[in-house]
């Protein structure tokens, strides 16, 4: 699964599209609850949370070149752990549960990283994909069989998150909390991927072995990025469980992990905003198609995804954004050097 680039657009972009897109989506999200009915507010809250999960995948694959089919593992485990804390220990404070969710994501991702990603030899993309997929599969199977965590049924009827004495009910409150977390994480990731560290990530995903010869400890960087993605996925998982009111083995399954991969591929990998857009569009289409075509909707959705990925591997964002803008430049603070027109033709 390579990321394609159109190298013929080798000059600097004349106009950046992504910031406008980000601003538009943020603006619309901020005012939406005033216009939409309750159902759509709840629907979008869920989209924000899944968008957060999608961001975690875009970070590892779109930026560090790690094809992880296990992001749902951190998502689901964080959901389970926070659900257990809430139901067995009666702790529902969001100030405890969300950091706990992130911590669970961190720990599990570090364990998985040691097993699958780190090590003397650089693992191949396929190995990482299969290894993370297996991890997700094994843990789902375990969760299905373990009665303490409810087996197949999971842990139902979760209490609401609280802030002090106030309940964060799903609806407007939860909407803005989820949006806030999404925006916060997004800003952090934007900062990271545009920094000099982001340049290192670009090097890793294009030619990992080569940059070790510059002196980069690539394994450290990958481990840190994977752990950061684990934290993000964990945060999303914690919020999801309490928004939906239950946690079940489906939330750590390979099916969800694969769904996340599709969100990002569909939206546009390596752009951050693509992950969020992809999650939103696929969730919306799933819902609308299943309302219209009772039996056939999964087929329609599958065909649509197939068509986009085959003909537009850069995803929906690829319609608007040049590959040059997507990869970006990390150079001078001013970043105003004019393009050299004469040398545009490849040799």
């Amino acid at each position: 699964m390579s990321q394609s680039t159109d190298l013929s657009a080798s000059s600097l972009p004349l106009r950046k599209v992504i910031p406008w897109l980000e601003l538009a989506i943020l603006g619309a999200s901020l005012i939406l609850p005033a216009f939409a009915d309750d159902f759509w507010t709840l629907f979008l809250t869920r989209v924000f949370i899944l968008g957060l999960l999608a961001l975690s995948f875009d970070l590892v694959w779109g930026y560090a070149g790690i094809l992880s089919f296990g992001q749902a593992l951190f998502f689901g485990m964080a959901g389970y752990c926070t659900a257990l804390i809430a139901t067995k220990l009666d702790i529902t404070s969001v100030l405890v549960l969300l950091p706990a969710a992130g911590l669970v994501g961190l720990i599990v991702s570090l364990i998985l990283a040691f097993i699958v990603i780190l090590g003397r030899r650089v693992p191949t993309t396929v190995f990482v994909a299969l290894g993370t997929l297996t991890g997700s599969y094994v843990v789902e199977r375990l969760a299905r069989g373990w009665s303490y965590v409810g087996g197949q049924n999971g842990i139902p009827s979760l209490p609401r998150l609280t802030l002090g004495s106030h309940e964060i009910a799903e609806g407007v409150w939860f909407y803005y909390m989820a949006l806030g977390m999404l925006v916060g994480v997004y800003v952090v990731l934007k900062f990271l991927t545009r920094s000099q560290l982001g340049l290192v990530l670009a090097g890793i995903r294009q030619h990992e072995t080569r940059i070790t010869f510059f002196g980069y400890r690539v394994q450290h960087v990958k481990g840190i990025i994977f752990a950061l993605a684990g934290i993000i996925a964990g945060l999303a998982g914690g919020m999801y469980a309490f928004h939906e009111g239950y946690v079940g083995p489906g939330q750590l399954s390979p099916v969800l992990s694969t769904q996340v991969v599709l969100y990002v591929l569909f939206g546009g990998v390596g752009t951050l905003i693509g992950a969020v857009v992809g999650a939103g569009v696929i969730e919306y289409l799933s819902f609308m198609l299943s309302e219209q075509y009772q039996r056939l909707w999964p087929i329609f959705l599958g065909l649509l995804l197939l068509v986009i990925i085959m003909f537009r591997p850069t995803g929906l964002i690829g319609f608007l954004v040049s590959s040059r803008e997507r990869i970006g430049s990390f150079g001078r603070p001013g970043d105003a050097a004019p393009a050299h027109e004469a040398d545009k033709n490849p040799p």
Binding site: F39, S147, G150, N153, G154, E170, G245, G250, S290, Q294
Partner: protein
């Protein structure tokens, strides 16, 4: 999508006529490939009572979801034809939970938040019920009626269960099995919650009735190599195999058990979820003599049940039958009990209806009438033991009156 259908404002005359024409059309098309919104036929003075049906129309459990939705449609139409409920028609809003718990929550959320239904019927597997119940009952503050046979222990307030429980499937069945099979039991099972919980209950009943459990084993649902288990069964003189393995693994198990000569040596195979739809899973000779215990079989041949079967067959054909294993009988029971409760409460608000539903009873139903056991939100009903002969069920025992569910006491 007809957007104007979703409003709950009183309908203007022209709109009603439009709806009348379209709903006549939707009423005659079998479910599938049309609108999910089933409008009452005819002209009504009051706005409809909204009934939400959330079940698996697609995915692995569609064999249960489709009959569930079809029965619901049939019963709701019947109620509308006899004048509706409290003078209002019933409007059925059907959502496909697609055997996908995560998608299901959004669908159910739509029912309670956007469509603002007055009651939700649905869920088939326990994992689905557990995924959607919070959204319906706590967050949506709506009544939820669950129609399928299950492992018991569901005591959430405002959640009523109308399918058989382990007590109902074991209390009369196991004594019959001991009398018509023997004392030595083996429990081969699928590895998930329902078999574990059912087996625990069954074991108690077996021992209380002088029986003995030789072995209890759990397999993944797609397991297909049972020779070790079959050998153990054959060599330890097991009389009754109380099976809870499910498709797809069950076909292989029954075949291997039969080929080892279990039935020929007088062994009795028992399986409490096996209904008429399941009979087709394996060739008839492999399950000759298989005993099942459910709240209804077509072979019960009661006049009311026969009439229901005839109507159902006329509307929906015979591909997915009206059976107890798919929760269709529970759906019938649930809607009729709810109807009775609404009539008593003279309201569709949750509190009064739940209070009335707590002791609701109906005198007619497939397999006879039934009654809610007050304070438990479970139904006591007649149970029937049937044996498969030549690929068809024959009733061999009827319970002596309704059997208690034994839940949430």
């Amino acid at each position: 999508m007809k957007n104007d259908d979703r409003s709950s404002r009183p309908l203007s005359a022209s709109r009603r006529r439009f709806l009348q024409r379209t709903s006549l059309l939707t009423g005659t098309i079998a479910l599938g490939g049309g609108s999910y919104l089933y409008n009452p036929k005819g002209v009504w003075a009051a706005d409809p009572i909204k009934v939400g049906i959330a079940t698996d129309l697609t995915g692995a459990i569609s064999w249960g979801g489709i009959p569930n939705s079809q029965v619901a449609k049939m019963v709701i139409d019947q109620i509308n034809q006899s004048g509706g409920l409290l003078g209002r028609p019933l409007q059925m809003i059907l959502e496909d939970t697609a055997t996908n718990e995560q998608l299901a929550v959004t669908k159910v959320r739509k029912l309670v938040t956007q469509d603002k239904v007055d009651v939700v019927f649905g869920g088939i597997t326990s994992s689905m019920r557990n995924a959607i119940k919070d959204t319906i009952v706590n967050r949506g503050k709506t009544l939820y009626i669950y129609p399928q046979l299950y492992e018991g222990k569901e005591c959430t307030p405002y959640l009523f269960c109308t399918g058989p429980t382990p007590a109902q499937q074991c209390d009369t069945f196991i004594p019959w099995l001991i009398k018509n099979g023997g004392k030595k039991f083996y429990l081969p099972s699928a590895d998930y919650v329902w078999p574990h919980t059912l087996n625990a209950y069954a074991r108690n009943v077996i021992v209380k009735n002088g029986g003995e459990v030789i072995g209890e084993e759990y397999f993944p649902v797609d397991h297909n190599e049972y020779s070790a288990t079959v050998n153990k069964i054959m060599s330890s003189g097991v009389n009754v195999v109380f099976n809870t393995t499910i498709p797809p693994g069950v076909a292989a198990f029954f075949k291997q058990l039969n080929e080892a000569g279990f039935q020929k040596k007088g062994g009795r195979l028992a399986c409490v979820y096996y209904d008429e739809n399941a009979l087709g899973i394996t060739p008839a000779h492999e399950i000759e003599g298989l005993a099942s215990c459910l709240d209804y079989f077509k072979a019960v041949n009661d006049p009311f049940g026969n009439q229901l079967q005839a109507e159902y067959g006329k509307l929906f054909g015979d591909k997915l039958l009206f059976t107890a294993g798919s929760g269709a009988t529970g759906m019938y029971r649930g809607i009729k009990l709810w109807e009775a409760a609404v009539k008593e409460a003279k309201s569709v608000k949750r509190e009064p209806v739940a209070a009335a539903l707590d002791h609701a009873k109906i005198s007619d139903g497939p397999g006879g009438g039934c009654e809610m056991v007050p304070g438990t939100r479970h139904v006591k009903m007649n149970m029937f033991t049937a044996v498969s002969k030549g690929g068809k069920y024959e009733i061999v025992e009827k319970s002596n009156g309704p059997v208690m569910p034994g839940e949430c006491a």
